[in-house]
Protein backbone atom coordinates (compact mmCIF):
# COMPACT_ATOMS: atom_id res chain seq x y z
CA UNK A 1 0.00 0.00 0.00
CA UNK A 2 1.38 3.38 -0.93
CA UNK A 3 1.13 6.49 1.23
CA UNK A 4 -1.97 8.60 1.52
CA UNK A 5 -2.01 10.89 -1.51
CA UNK A 6 -1.27 7.95 -3.79
CA UNK A 7 -1.38 8.56 -7.50
CA UNK A 8 -2.56 12.03 -8.44
CA UNK A 9 -4.32 11.13 -11.71
CA UNK A 10 -6.72 8.86 -9.85
CA UNK A 11 -7.75 11.76 -7.63
CA UNK A 12 -8.41 13.86 -10.70
CA UNK A 13 -10.47 11.05 -12.16
CA UNK A 14 -12.58 10.63 -9.03
CA UNK A 15 -13.22 14.39 -8.88
CA UNK A 16 -14.26 14.46 -12.55
CA UNK A 17 -16.43 11.40 -12.10
CA UNK A 18 -18.30 12.87 -9.17
CA UNK A 19 -18.68 16.21 -10.93
CA UNK A 20 -20.20 14.50 -13.93
CA UNK A 21 -22.55 12.38 -11.87
CA UNK A 22 -23.57 15.42 -9.82
CA UNK A 23 -24.42 17.42 -12.94
CA UNK A 24 -26.59 14.57 -14.24
CA UNK A 25 -28.48 14.36 -10.97
CA UNK A 26 -28.71 18.02 -9.99
CA UNK A 27 -29.39 19.85 -13.24
CA UNK A 28 -32.87 20.06 -14.70
CA UNK A 29 -31.79 21.16 -18.15
CA UNK A 30 -31.72 18.17 -20.48
CA UNK A 31 -28.68 19.39 -22.42
CA UNK A 32 -26.72 20.00 -19.22
CA UNK A 33 -27.56 16.49 -18.12
CA UNK A 34 -25.97 15.16 -21.30
CA UNK A 35 -22.91 17.33 -20.74
CA UNK A 36 -22.66 15.86 -17.23
CA UNK A 37 -22.98 12.39 -18.65
CA UNK A 38 -20.11 13.17 -21.01
CA UNK A 39 -17.88 14.38 -18.19
CA UNK A 40 -18.71 11.21 -16.29
CA UNK A 41 -17.83 9.01 -19.25
CA UNK A 42 -14.62 10.89 -19.98
CA UNK A 43 -13.45 10.32 -16.42
CA UNK A 44 -13.80 6.59 -17.05
CA UNK A 45 -11.82 6.89 -20.28
CA UNK A 46 -9.08 8.59 -18.28
CA UNK A 47 -9.21 5.82 -15.69
CA UNK A 48 -8.43 3.26 -18.38
CA UNK A 49 -5.73 5.36 -20.02
CA UNK A 50 -4.09 6.03 -16.66
CA UNK A 51 -3.94 2.39 -15.72
CA UNK A 52 -2.25 1.60 -19.03
CA UNK A 53 0.70 3.84 -18.23
CA UNK A 54 3.94 2.03 -17.51
CA UNK A 55 6.52 4.10 -15.66
CA UNK A 56 9.25 5.11 -18.11
CA UNK A 57 7.41 3.49 -20.99
CA UNK A 58 6.84 5.16 -24.34
CA UNK A 59 4.04 4.88 -26.84
CA UNK A 60 3.46 1.27 -27.91
CA UNK A 61 5.05 1.49 -31.34
CA UNK A 62 7.10 -1.32 -32.80
CA UNK A 63 10.42 0.37 -33.55
CA UNK A 64 14.12 0.07 -33.05
CA UNK A 65 15.25 0.80 -29.51
CA UNK A 66 11.81 0.72 -27.86
CA UNK A 67 11.86 -1.87 -25.12
CA UNK A 68 9.50 -0.48 -22.52
CA UNK A 69 6.09 0.74 -23.64
CA UNK A 70 2.66 1.42 -22.18
CA UNK A 71 -0.01 -1.25 -22.29
CA UNK A 72 -1.89 -0.64 -25.56
CA UNK A 73 -4.93 -2.77 -24.74
CA UNK A 74 -6.78 -0.21 -22.57
CA UNK A 75 -6.19 2.38 -25.31
CA UNK A 76 -7.97 0.15 -27.78
CA UNK A 77 -10.79 -0.57 -25.36
CA UNK A 78 -11.31 3.12 -24.79
CA UNK A 79 -11.36 3.79 -28.51
CA UNK A 80 -14.41 1.53 -28.58
CA UNK A 81 -15.88 3.20 -25.52
CA UNK A 82 -15.39 6.66 -27.07
CA UNK A 83 -17.35 5.56 -30.13
CA UNK A 84 -20.12 4.30 -27.88
CA UNK A 85 -20.02 7.59 -25.99
CA UNK A 86 -20.33 9.61 -29.18
CA UNK A 87 -23.29 7.51 -30.29
CA UNK A 88 -24.98 7.94 -26.93
CA UNK A 89 -24.45 11.71 -26.97
CA UNK A 90 -25.74 12.00 -30.52
CA UNK A 91 -28.84 9.98 -29.70
CA UNK A 92 -29.38 11.90 -26.48
CA UNK A 93 -29.17 15.26 -28.24
CA UNK A 94 -31.50 14.03 -31.00
CA UNK A 95 -34.01 13.06 -28.34
CA UNK A 96 -33.67 16.51 -26.74
CA UNK A 97 -34.47 18.11 -30.11
CA UNK A 98 -37.60 16.01 -30.43
CA UNK A 99 -38.56 16.69 -26.82
CA UNK A 100 -38.22 20.40 -27.53
CA UNK A 101 -40.47 20.05 -30.56
CA UNK A 102 -43.07 18.11 -28.60
CA UNK A 103 -43.08 20.06 -25.34
CA UNK A 104 -41.59 23.44 -26.27
CA UNK A 105 -39.13 23.24 -23.37
CA UNK A 106 -36.09 21.28 -22.26
CA UNK A 107 -36.40 21.93 -18.53
CA UNK A 108 -37.16 18.81 -16.53
CA UNK A 109 -39.60 20.50 -14.15
CA UNK A 110 -41.66 22.14 -16.88
CA UNK A 111 -41.87 18.84 -18.76
CA UNK A 112 -43.05 17.13 -15.59
CA UNK A 113 -45.78 19.76 -15.22
CA UNK A 114 -46.90 19.29 -18.82
CA UNK A 115 -46.93 15.52 -18.38
CA UNK A 116 -49.01 15.69 -15.25
CA UNK A 117 -51.70 17.62 -17.09
CA UNK A 118 -52.26 14.95 -19.70
Amino acid sequence: MEQFPGLVPYWAIIVLMMMGLYIVIAHGNLIKKIVGLNVFQVSVFLLYITMAKVEGGTAPILAEGIKLYSNPLPHVLILTAIVVGVATTALGLALVVRIHNAYGTIEDEEIDKLEDQT
Binding site: Q41, V44, Y48, L77, V84, L95, Y103, E115
Partner: protein, 493 residues
Protein backbone atom coordinates in the same frame (compact mmCIF):
# COMPACT_ATOMS: atom_id res chain seq x y z
CA UNK B 1 -18.97 -27.36 -41.28
CA UNK B 2 -21.60 -24.71 -40.70
CA UNK B 3 -22.56 -26.23 -37.34
CA UNK B 4 -19.10 -25.49 -36.06
CA UNK B 5 -19.63 -21.77 -36.68
CA UNK B 6 -23.12 -21.57 -35.20
CA UNK B 7 -22.06 -19.46 -32.19
CA UNK B 8 -20.79 -16.64 -34.38
CA UNK B 9 -23.59 -16.96 -36.94
CA UNK B 10 -26.08 -16.47 -34.14
CA UNK B 11 -24.71 -12.94 -33.72
CA UNK B 12 -23.56 -12.08 -37.23
CA UNK B 13 -26.85 -12.96 -38.90
CA UNK B 14 -29.05 -10.38 -37.14
CA UNK B 15 -26.15 -7.89 -37.02
CA UNK B 16 -25.67 -8.01 -40.79
CA UNK B 17 -29.38 -8.21 -41.50
CA UNK B 18 -30.05 -4.94 -39.68
CA UNK B 19 -28.28 -2.59 -42.14
CA UNK B 20 -29.90 -4.50 -45.01
CA UNK B 21 -33.21 -3.24 -43.64
CA UNK B 22 -31.92 0.30 -44.18
CA UNK B 23 -31.27 -0.55 -47.82
CA UNK B 24 -34.61 -2.24 -48.45
CA UNK B 25 -36.70 0.57 -46.89
CA UNK B 26 -39.99 -0.77 -48.25
CA UNK B 27 -42.18 -1.33 -45.15
CA UNK B 28 -43.61 -4.72 -46.16
CA UNK B 29 -40.45 -6.19 -47.65
CA UNK B 30 -38.48 -5.09 -44.58
CA UNK B 31 -40.95 -6.90 -42.37
CA UNK B 32 -40.65 -10.11 -44.42
CA UNK B 33 -36.85 -9.87 -44.24
CA UNK B 34 -36.74 -9.21 -40.49
CA UNK B 35 -39.22 -12.01 -39.81
CA UNK B 36 -37.16 -14.40 -41.90
CA UNK B 37 -34.02 -13.52 -39.91
CA UNK B 38 -35.79 -13.83 -36.56
CA UNK B 39 -37.11 -17.25 -37.57
CA UNK B 40 -33.62 -18.34 -38.65
CA UNK B 41 -32.13 -17.28 -35.31
CA UNK B 42 -34.49 -19.44 -33.27
CA UNK B 43 -33.48 -22.88 -34.65
CA UNK B 44 -29.83 -21.82 -34.33
CA UNK B 45 -30.15 -21.15 -30.63
CA UNK B 46 -32.13 -24.37 -30.13
CA UNK B 47 -29.39 -26.28 -31.96
CA UNK B 48 -26.81 -24.65 -29.70
CA UNK B 49 -28.79 -25.55 -26.60
CA UNK B 50 -29.11 -29.17 -27.73
CA UNK B 51 -25.42 -29.33 -28.50
CA UNK B 52 -24.54 -27.91 -25.07
CA UNK B 53 -26.85 -30.34 -23.33
CA UNK B 54 -25.30 -33.23 -25.19
CA UNK B 55 -21.63 -32.30 -25.29
CA UNK B 56 -21.01 -29.66 -22.65
CA UNK B 57 -19.53 -26.18 -22.97
CA UNK B 58 -18.91 -24.84 -26.48
CA UNK B 59 -15.94 -22.52 -26.86
CA UNK B 60 -15.65 -20.50 -30.06
CA UNK B 61 -12.52 -18.45 -30.63
CA UNK B 62 -13.13 -15.41 -32.78
CA UNK B 63 -10.72 -15.25 -35.69
CA UNK B 64 -8.89 -18.25 -34.28
CA UNK B 65 -7.20 -16.13 -31.59
CA UNK B 66 -7.03 -18.18 -28.44
CA UNK B 67 -8.33 -16.65 -25.21
CA UNK B 68 -7.26 -14.74 -23.16
CA UNK B 69 -5.70 -12.76 -26.04
CA UNK B 70 -8.60 -13.13 -28.40
CA UNK B 71 -12.29 -12.80 -27.68
CA UNK B 72 -14.08 -16.06 -27.20
CA UNK B 73 -17.71 -17.02 -27.17
CA UNK B 74 -18.37 -19.50 -24.43
CA UNK B 75 -21.75 -21.21 -24.32
CA UNK B 76 -22.82 -23.27 -21.35
CA UNK B 77 -26.27 -24.44 -20.30
CA UNK B 78 -27.20 -21.12 -18.76
CA UNK B 79 -26.49 -18.82 -21.65
CA UNK B 80 -27.73 -21.32 -24.21
CA UNK B 81 -31.03 -21.16 -22.34
CA UNK B 82 -30.97 -17.36 -22.36
CA UNK B 83 -30.25 -17.41 -26.11
CA UNK B 84 -33.34 -19.55 -26.65
CA UNK B 85 -35.46 -17.13 -24.59
CA UNK B 86 -34.31 -14.11 -26.60
CA UNK B 87 -34.59 -15.72 -30.04
CA UNK B 88 -37.95 -17.31 -29.21
CA UNK B 89 -39.42 -13.98 -28.14
CA UNK B 90 -37.79 -12.33 -31.16
CA UNK B 91 -39.45 -14.87 -33.45
CA UNK B 92 -42.91 -14.51 -31.86
CA UNK B 93 -42.76 -10.73 -31.84
CA UNK B 94 -42.07 -10.35 -35.57
CA UNK B 95 -45.43 -11.62 -36.91
CA UNK B 96 -47.13 -9.70 -34.10
CA UNK B 97 -45.27 -6.51 -34.94
CA UNK B 98 -46.69 -6.15 -38.47
CA UNK B 99 -50.16 -4.88 -37.65
CA UNK B 100 -49.32 -2.91 -34.53
CA UNK B 101 -46.32 -1.23 -36.12
CA UNK B 102 -48.32 -0.26 -39.21
CA UNK B 103 -50.87 1.31 -36.90
CA UNK B 104 -48.47 3.04 -34.49
CA UNK B 105 -45.47 4.12 -36.57
CA UNK B 106 -45.54 6.30 -39.68
CA UNK B 107 -44.95 4.23 -42.85
CA UNK B 108 -41.82 6.22 -43.68
CA UNK B 109 -40.17 5.13 -40.43
CA UNK B 110 -41.19 1.48 -40.35
CA UNK B 111 -37.89 0.30 -41.80
CA UNK B 112 -36.06 1.98 -38.92
CA UNK B 113 -38.16 0.03 -36.48
CA UNK B 114 -37.10 -3.33 -37.91
CA UNK B 115 -33.46 -2.24 -38.18
CA UNK B 116 -33.44 -1.34 -34.51
CA UNK B 117 -35.34 -4.44 -33.44
CA UNK B 118 -32.77 -6.67 -35.15
CA UNK B 119 -29.91 -4.67 -33.64
CA UNK B 120 -31.48 -4.90 -30.22
CA UNK B 121 -31.79 -8.67 -30.62
CA UNK B 122 -28.13 -8.80 -31.70
CA UNK B 123 -27.07 -6.89 -28.61
CA UNK B 124 -29.06 -9.07 -26.24
CA UNK B 125 -27.81 -12.28 -27.86
CA UNK B 126 -24.27 -10.91 -27.75
CA UNK B 127 -24.46 -10.20 -24.02
CA UNK B 128 -25.58 -13.76 -23.49
CA UNK B 129 -23.08 -15.47 -25.74
CA UNK B 130 -19.82 -13.64 -25.14
CA UNK B 131 -17.08 -14.85 -22.84
CA UNK B 132 -15.34 -11.49 -22.63
CA UNK B 133 -16.22 -8.87 -20.05
CA UNK B 134 -15.49 -5.86 -22.25
CA UNK B 135 -17.20 -7.37 -25.27
CA UNK B 136 -20.23 -7.72 -23.03
CA UNK B 137 -20.18 -3.96 -22.47
CA UNK B 138 -20.16 -3.30 -26.22
CA UNK B 139 -23.15 -5.58 -26.75
CA UNK B 140 -24.86 -4.02 -23.75
CA UNK B 141 -24.59 -0.64 -25.44
CA UNK B 142 -25.74 -1.99 -28.82
CA UNK B 143 -28.88 -3.34 -27.22
CA UNK B 144 -29.40 -0.23 -25.09
CA UNK B 145 -28.91 2.34 -27.84
CA UNK B 146 -31.30 0.49 -30.13
CA UNK B 147 -33.87 0.15 -27.36
CA UNK B 148 -33.76 3.91 -26.69
CA UNK B 149 -34.59 4.46 -30.36
CA UNK B 150 -37.32 1.82 -30.29
CA UNK B 151 -38.97 3.40 -27.26
CA UNK B 152 -38.85 6.86 -28.83
CA UNK B 153 -40.82 5.57 -31.83
CA UNK B 154 -43.99 5.51 -29.73
CA UNK B 155 -47.06 7.58 -30.53
CA UNK B 156 -47.47 9.42 -27.24
CA UNK B 157 -45.00 12.29 -26.77
CA UNK B 158 -44.18 10.96 -23.32
CA UNK B 159 -42.26 8.16 -25.03
CA UNK B 160 -39.57 10.77 -25.79
CA UNK B 161 -38.96 11.71 -22.18
CA UNK B 162 -39.16 8.02 -21.23
CA UNK B 163 -36.48 7.20 -23.80
CA UNK B 164 -34.37 10.15 -22.63
CA UNK B 165 -34.54 9.11 -18.98
CA UNK B 166 -33.76 5.52 -19.90
CA UNK B 167 -30.78 6.81 -21.90
CA UNK B 168 -29.40 8.71 -18.93
CA UNK B 169 -29.94 5.87 -16.45
CA UNK B 170 -28.85 3.19 -18.91
CA UNK B 171 -25.63 5.02 -19.77
CA UNK B 172 -24.80 5.51 -16.11
CA UNK B 173 -25.43 1.80 -15.57
CA UNK B 174 -23.26 0.74 -18.49
CA UNK B 175 -20.50 3.16 -17.44
CA UNK B 176 -20.55 1.75 -13.92
CA UNK B 177 -20.19 -1.65 -15.51
CA UNK B 178 -17.03 -0.63 -17.41
CA UNK B 179 -15.59 0.99 -14.31
CA UNK B 180 -16.02 -2.39 -12.63
CA UNK B 181 -14.44 -4.22 -15.54
CA UNK B 182 -11.58 -1.70 -15.59
CA UNK B 183 -10.86 -2.19 -11.91
CA UNK B 184 -10.78 -5.94 -12.38
CA UNK B 185 -8.47 -5.54 -15.36
CA UNK B 186 -6.24 -3.33 -13.26
CA UNK B 187 -5.43 -6.12 -10.82
CA UNK B 188 -5.74 -9.20 -13.02
CA UNK B 189 -4.70 -8.01 -16.47
CA UNK B 190 -7.41 -10.02 -18.20
CA UNK B 191 -10.88 -9.42 -19.60
CA UNK B 192 -11.79 -13.00 -20.35
CA UNK B 193 -14.56 -14.12 -18.02
CA UNK B 194 -13.21 -17.66 -17.64
CA UNK B 195 -9.78 -16.22 -16.89
CA UNK B 196 -11.20 -13.69 -14.44
CA UNK B 197 -12.95 -16.56 -12.68
CA UNK B 198 -9.52 -18.04 -11.94
CA UNK B 199 -7.67 -14.82 -11.08
CA UNK B 200 -10.24 -12.72 -9.22
CA UNK B 201 -10.87 -15.14 -6.31
CA UNK B 202 -7.15 -15.14 -5.53
CA UNK B 203 -7.22 -11.39 -5.02
CA UNK B 204 -10.52 -11.11 -3.28
CA UNK B 205 -8.93 -9.41 -0.30
CA UNK B 206 -7.91 -6.48 -2.48
CA UNK B 207 -9.99 -3.36 -2.10
CA UNK B 208 -9.89 -2.79 -5.85
CA UNK B 209 -11.81 -6.03 -6.36
CA UNK B 210 -14.36 -5.02 -3.74
CA UNK B 211 -14.86 -1.71 -5.53
CA UNK B 212 -15.15 -3.54 -8.85
CA UNK B 213 -17.84 -5.81 -7.48
CA UNK B 214 -19.77 -2.81 -6.14
CA UNK B 215 -19.64 -1.03 -9.50
CA UNK B 216 -20.63 -4.16 -11.43
CA UNK B 217 -23.54 -4.83 -9.09
CA UNK B 218 -24.93 -1.31 -9.23
CA UNK B 219 -24.40 -1.02 -12.99
CA UNK B 220 -26.16 -4.27 -13.81
CA UNK B 221 -28.88 -3.65 -11.23
CA UNK B 222 -29.65 -0.38 -13.06
CA UNK B 223 -29.93 -2.28 -16.33
CA UNK B 224 -32.04 -4.99 -14.72
CA UNK B 225 -34.31 -2.37 -13.10
CA UNK B 226 -33.83 -3.80 -9.63
CA UNK B 227 -35.71 -1.73 -7.06
CA UNK B 228 -34.92 1.16 -6.30
CA UNK B 229 -33.11 1.61 -9.63
CA UNK B 230 -36.24 0.87 -11.65
CA UNK B 231 -37.41 4.45 -12.23
CA UNK B 232 -36.76 4.36 -15.97
CA UNK B 233 -38.82 1.24 -16.56
CA UNK B 234 -42.55 2.08 -16.08
CA UNK B 235 -42.73 4.96 -18.56
CA UNK B 236 -40.43 3.25 -21.03
CA UNK B 237 -42.73 0.22 -21.14
CA UNK B 238 -45.92 2.24 -20.99
CA UNK B 239 -45.31 4.59 -23.93
CA UNK B 240 -43.16 2.48 -26.26
CA UNK B 241 -44.86 0.92 -29.31
CA UNK B 242 -46.70 -2.28 -28.35
CA UNK B 243 -44.32 -4.66 -30.09
CA UNK B 244 -41.34 -2.96 -28.44
CA UNK B 245 -42.89 -3.30 -24.99
CA UNK B 246 -43.44 -7.01 -25.61
CA UNK B 247 -39.88 -7.53 -26.77
CA UNK B 248 -38.15 -5.46 -24.10
CA UNK B 249 -40.30 -6.64 -21.22
CA UNK B 250 -39.67 -10.25 -22.16
CA UNK B 251 -35.94 -10.03 -22.83
CA UNK B 252 -34.00 -6.87 -21.88
CA UNK B 253 -34.11 -7.00 -18.08
CA UNK B 254 -33.70 -10.78 -18.19
CA UNK B 255 -30.43 -10.51 -20.05
CA UNK B 256 -29.13 -7.97 -17.52
CA UNK B 257 -30.00 -10.42 -14.75
CA UNK B 258 -28.15 -13.11 -16.69
CA UNK B 259 -25.07 -10.85 -16.78
CA UNK B 260 -25.41 -10.33 -13.05
CA UNK B 261 -25.56 -14.11 -12.48
CA UNK B 262 -22.36 -14.38 -14.53
CA UNK B 263 -20.58 -11.87 -12.35
CA UNK B 264 -21.70 -13.33 -9.05
CA UNK B 265 -21.48 -17.03 -9.79
CA UNK B 266 -18.83 -17.27 -12.48
CA UNK B 267 -16.32 -14.47 -11.95
CA UNK B 268 -16.68 -14.58 -8.17
CA UNK B 269 -17.76 -18.22 -8.29
CA UNK B 270 -14.92 -19.83 -6.40
CA UNK B 271 -15.29 -17.80 -3.25
CA UNK B 272 -19.05 -17.76 -2.74
CA UNK B 273 -19.12 -14.00 -2.72
CA UNK B 274 -22.73 -13.78 -1.59
CA UNK B 275 -21.79 -15.37 1.71
CA UNK B 276 -18.36 -13.76 2.03
CA UNK B 277 -19.62 -10.18 1.83
CA UNK B 278 -22.98 -8.92 3.09
CA UNK B 279 -24.26 -8.59 -0.50
CA UNK B 280 -26.69 -11.43 -0.02
CA UNK B 281 -28.75 -9.58 2.56
CA UNK B 282 -28.59 -6.38 0.55
CA UNK B 283 -29.92 -8.18 -2.53
CA UNK B 284 -32.51 -10.05 -0.53
CA UNK B 285 -33.74 -6.85 1.10
CA UNK B 286 -33.97 -5.06 -2.23
CA UNK B 287 -35.69 -8.05 -3.84
CA UNK B 288 -38.33 -8.17 -1.13
CA UNK B 289 -38.78 -4.40 -1.32
CA UNK B 290 -39.20 -4.75 -5.10
CA UNK B 291 -41.80 -7.51 -4.71
CA UNK B 292 -43.95 -5.41 -2.41
CA UNK B 293 -43.34 -1.89 -3.71
CA UNK B 294 -43.71 -2.94 -7.36
CA UNK B 295 -46.97 -4.79 -6.73
CA UNK B 296 -48.34 -2.13 -4.40
CA UNK B 297 -47.75 0.67 -6.90
CA UNK B 298 -49.16 -1.51 -9.69
CA UNK B 299 -52.48 -1.70 -7.84
CA UNK B 300 -52.98 2.06 -8.17
CA UNK B 301 -52.18 2.43 -11.86
CA UNK B 302 -54.86 3.42 -14.33
CA UNK B 303 -52.82 2.74 -17.44
CA UNK B 304 -52.80 -1.04 -17.92
CA UNK B 305 -49.37 -1.00 -19.58
CA UNK B 306 -47.89 0.95 -16.67
CA UNK B 307 -49.59 -1.45 -14.29
CA UNK B 308 -47.86 -4.41 -15.91
CA UNK B 309 -44.58 -2.49 -16.00
CA UNK B 310 -44.69 -2.07 -12.21
CA UNK B 311 -45.58 -5.73 -11.93
CA UNK B 312 -42.38 -6.42 -13.91
CA UNK B 313 -40.43 -4.57 -11.22
CA UNK B 314 -41.97 -6.93 -8.67
CA UNK B 315 -41.22 -10.00 -10.78
CA UNK B 316 -37.58 -8.94 -11.16
CA UNK B 317 -37.56 -8.99 -7.37
CA UNK B 318 -38.49 -12.69 -7.40
CA UNK B 319 -35.65 -13.49 -9.78
CA UNK B 320 -33.09 -11.62 -7.68
CA UNK B 321 -34.50 -13.22 -4.54
CA UNK B 322 -33.89 -16.66 -6.02
CA UNK B 323 -30.33 -15.72 -6.94
CA UNK B 324 -29.61 -14.17 -3.54
CA UNK B 325 -30.53 -17.42 -1.78
CA UNK B 326 -27.34 -18.85 -3.23
CA UNK B 327 -28.56 -22.45 -3.23
CA UNK B 328 -29.12 -24.77 -6.19
CA UNK B 329 -32.89 -24.64 -5.70
CA UNK B 330 -32.89 -20.86 -5.34
CA UNK B 331 -30.83 -20.21 -8.44
CA UNK B 332 -32.89 -22.78 -10.36
CA UNK B 333 -36.01 -20.85 -9.35
CA UNK B 334 -34.42 -17.60 -10.50
CA UNK B 335 -33.42 -19.00 -13.89
CA UNK B 336 -36.74 -20.75 -14.46
CA UNK B 337 -38.53 -17.54 -13.59
CA UNK B 338 -36.46 -15.71 -16.22
CA UNK B 339 -37.99 -18.01 -18.82
CA UNK B 340 -41.50 -18.23 -17.37
CA UNK B 341 -41.78 -14.51 -16.83
CA UNK B 342 -40.68 -13.85 -20.42
CA UNK B 343 -43.56 -16.05 -21.61
CA UNK B 344 -46.27 -14.59 -19.42
CA UNK B 345 -45.27 -10.92 -19.68
CA UNK B 346 -44.95 -11.40 -23.42
CA UNK B 347 -48.50 -12.76 -23.59
CA UNK B 348 -49.87 -10.03 -21.30
CA UNK B 349 -48.30 -7.15 -23.20
CA UNK B 350 -49.38 -8.72 -26.50
CA UNK B 351 -52.97 -8.75 -25.23
CA UNK B 352 -52.70 -5.09 -24.26
CA UNK B 353 -51.17 -4.30 -27.65
CA UNK B 354 -54.17 -5.90 -29.34
CA UNK B 355 -56.53 -3.85 -27.18
CA UNK B 356 -54.53 -0.74 -28.04
CA UNK B 357 -54.87 -1.55 -31.75
CA UNK B 358 -58.62 -2.17 -31.57
CA UNK B 359 -59.73 0.58 -29.19
CA UNK B 360 -56.82 3.01 -29.21
CA UNK B 361 -56.42 3.03 -25.43
CA UNK B 362 -55.19 0.83 -22.61
CA UNK B 363 -56.59 3.07 -19.90
CA UNK B 364 -58.53 0.93 -17.46
CA UNK B 365 -61.50 3.32 -17.68
CA UNK B 366 -61.74 2.63 -21.42
CA UNK B 367 -61.46 -1.11 -20.93
CA UNK B 368 -64.87 -1.66 -19.39
CA UNK B 369 -66.50 -4.77 -20.79
CA UNK B 370 -63.57 -5.41 -23.09
CA UNK B 371 -63.77 -9.10 -22.21
CA UNK B 372 -67.04 -9.34 -24.14
CA UNK B 373 -65.80 -7.45 -27.15
CA UNK B 374 -62.42 -9.17 -27.42
CA UNK B 375 -62.94 -12.54 -25.71
CA UNK B 376 -59.89 -14.30 -27.16
CA UNK B 377 -57.50 -11.50 -26.27
CA UNK B 378 -58.81 -11.13 -22.76
CA UNK B 379 -58.71 -14.91 -22.26
CA UNK B 380 -55.00 -14.82 -23.09
CA UNK B 381 -54.64 -11.93 -20.67
CA UNK B 382 -56.32 -13.95 -17.93
CA UNK B 383 -53.99 -16.90 -18.54
CA UNK B 384 -50.99 -14.59 -18.28
CA UNK B 385 -52.45 -12.92 -15.20
CA UNK B 386 -53.04 -16.24 -13.44
CA UNK B 387 -49.47 -17.18 -14.16
CA UNK B 388 -48.28 -13.86 -12.75
CA UNK B 389 -50.14 -14.66 -9.53
CA UNK B 390 -48.72 -18.17 -9.51
CA UNK B 391 -51.86 -20.26 -9.82
CA UNK B 392 -51.16 -24.01 -10.24
CA UNK B 393 -51.00 -25.35 -13.80
CA UNK B 394 -49.40 -22.13 -15.03
CA UNK B 395 -45.69 -21.46 -15.47
CA UNK B 396 -45.68 -18.86 -12.70
CA UNK B 397 -46.64 -21.54 -10.19
CA UNK B 398 -43.57 -23.61 -11.00
CA UNK B 399 -41.15 -20.75 -10.35
CA UNK B 400 -42.87 -19.63 -7.15
CA UNK B 401 -43.05 -23.22 -5.90
CA UNK B 402 -39.31 -23.57 -6.34
CA UNK B 403 -38.69 -20.19 -4.78
CA UNK B 404 -40.69 -21.13 -1.68
CA UNK B 405 -38.99 -24.51 -1.54
CA UNK B 406 -35.58 -22.82 -1.67
CA UNK B 407 -36.58 -20.52 1.19
CA UNK B 408 -37.78 -23.44 3.30
CA UNK B 409 -34.67 -25.48 2.50
CA UNK B 410 -32.54 -22.71 3.94
CA UNK B 411 -34.83 -22.45 6.92
CA UNK B 412 -36.01 -18.95 6.09
CA UNK B 413 -39.70 -19.57 6.49
CA UNK B 414 -40.58 -15.86 6.90
CA UNK B 415 -39.28 -15.45 3.36
CA UNK B 416 -41.73 -18.08 2.13
CA UNK B 417 -44.54 -16.22 3.87
CA UNK B 418 -43.47 -12.97 2.22
CA UNK B 419 -43.46 -14.63 -1.21
CA UNK B 420 -47.03 -15.83 -0.68
CA UNK B 421 -48.15 -12.44 0.63
CA UNK B 422 -46.67 -10.54 -2.28
CA UNK B 423 -48.48 -12.92 -4.63
CA UNK B 424 -51.71 -11.82 -3.02
CA UNK B 425 -50.92 -8.27 -4.14
CA UNK B 426 -50.69 -9.63 -7.69
CA UNK B 427 -54.18 -11.08 -7.21
CA UNK B 428 -55.45 -7.58 -6.48
CA UNK B 429 -54.09 -5.85 -9.56
CA UNK B 430 -54.94 -8.68 -11.92
CA UNK B 431 -58.44 -8.94 -10.45
CA UNK B 432 -58.88 -5.21 -10.92
CA UNK B 433 -58.39 -5.58 -14.66
CA UNK B 434 -60.43 -8.78 -14.87
CA UNK B 435 -63.29 -7.16 -12.99
CA UNK B 436 -63.31 -4.15 -15.31
CA UNK B 437 -63.04 -6.32 -18.39
CA UNK B 438 -65.75 -8.85 -17.59
CA UNK B 439 -68.06 -7.64 -14.88
CA UNK B 440 -68.64 -4.02 -15.79
CA UNK B 441 -71.17 -2.99 -18.42
CA UNK B 442 -69.93 -2.88 -21.96
CA UNK B 443 -68.89 0.54 -23.20
CA UNK B 444 -70.80 1.96 -26.10
CA UNK B 445 -68.75 1.18 -29.15
CA UNK B 446 -68.15 4.20 -31.38
CA UNK B 447 -68.29 2.06 -34.49
CA UNK B 448 -68.39 -1.59 -35.43
CA UNK B 449 -64.95 -3.18 -35.49
CA UNK B 450 -63.85 -6.41 -37.01
CA UNK B 451 -62.38 -8.97 -34.59
CA UNK B 452 -58.70 -8.66 -33.74
CA UNK B 453 -56.46 -9.89 -36.58
CA UNK B 454 -55.05 -13.42 -36.52
CA UNK B 455 -51.50 -12.05 -36.76
CA UNK B 456 -51.98 -10.74 -33.22
CA UNK B 457 -53.97 -13.64 -31.81
CA UNK B 458 -51.65 -16.42 -32.92
CA UNK B 459 -48.41 -15.08 -31.34
CA UNK B 460 -50.37 -14.11 -28.24
CA UNK B 461 -51.79 -17.59 -27.85
CA UNK B 462 -48.47 -19.22 -28.64
CA UNK B 463 -47.07 -17.47 -25.56
CA UNK B 464 -50.20 -18.00 -23.46
CA UNK B 465 -50.25 -21.67 -24.51
CA UNK B 466 -46.57 -21.98 -23.62
CA UNK B 467 -47.34 -20.48 -20.20
CA UNK B 468 -49.82 -23.31 -19.59
CA UNK B 469 -47.65 -25.96 -21.21
CA UNK B 470 -44.60 -25.15 -19.11
CA UNK B 471 -46.83 -24.95 -16.06
CA UNK B 472 -48.18 -28.46 -16.58
CA UNK B 473 -44.97 -30.07 -17.77
CA UNK B 474 -42.01 -28.18 -16.42
CA UNK B 475 -39.50 -31.01 -16.68
CA UNK B 476 -37.66 -29.49 -19.66
CA UNK B 477 -37.27 -26.00 -18.25
CA UNK B 478 -36.54 -27.17 -14.72
CA UNK B 479 -34.09 -29.74 -16.04
CA UNK B 480 -32.08 -27.16 -17.96
CA UNK B 481 -32.27 -24.53 -15.22
CA UNK B 482 -31.34 -27.08 -12.56
CA UNK B 483 -28.28 -28.26 -14.47
CA UNK B 484 -27.25 -24.66 -15.17
CA UNK B 485 -27.62 -23.76 -11.49
CA UNK B 486 -25.59 -26.81 -10.43
CA UNK B 487 -22.83 -25.88 -12.86
CA UNK B 488 -22.83 -22.29 -11.59
CA UNK B 489 -22.70 -23.20 -7.92
CA UNK B 490 -20.07 -25.87 -8.47
CA UNK B 491 -17.80 -22.88 -9.03
CA UNK B 492 -16.25 -21.39 -12.12
CA UNK B 493 -19.40 -22.25 -14.14
Amino acid sequence: MIAQHLPILQIVLPLMAAPVCMVIRHPHVVWIWATLIAFLCLPMSIALLMQVMAEGVIVYELGGWAAPWGIEYRIDKLNAFVLVIVTAIGAVVMPYAKRTVDAEIPMSRVYLFYTMLLLCETGLLGIAITGDAFNLFVFLEISSLSSYVLISLGKDRRCLTAAYRYLIMGTIGATFYIIGVGLMYMVTGTLNIADLAILVPEMVESRTIHAALAFLTVGLALKAALFPLHMWLPNAYAYAPSAVTVFLAATATKVAIYAFIRVVFTIFGDIDILAALPIRYLLMGLAIAAMFAGSAVAIYQNNAKRLLAYSSVAQIGYMILGISMDSVTGVTAGIVHLFNHALMKGALFMALGAIMLQTGSVDLRDMRGIGHRMPLTMAAFVVGGLSLIGVPLTAGFVSKWYLIQAALEAGWWPLAVLIVFSSLLAVIYIWRIVEIAYLQPNLEMPKAREPEPMSLLIPMWVLAGATIYFGVDATTTLGIAGLAAQALLAGGG
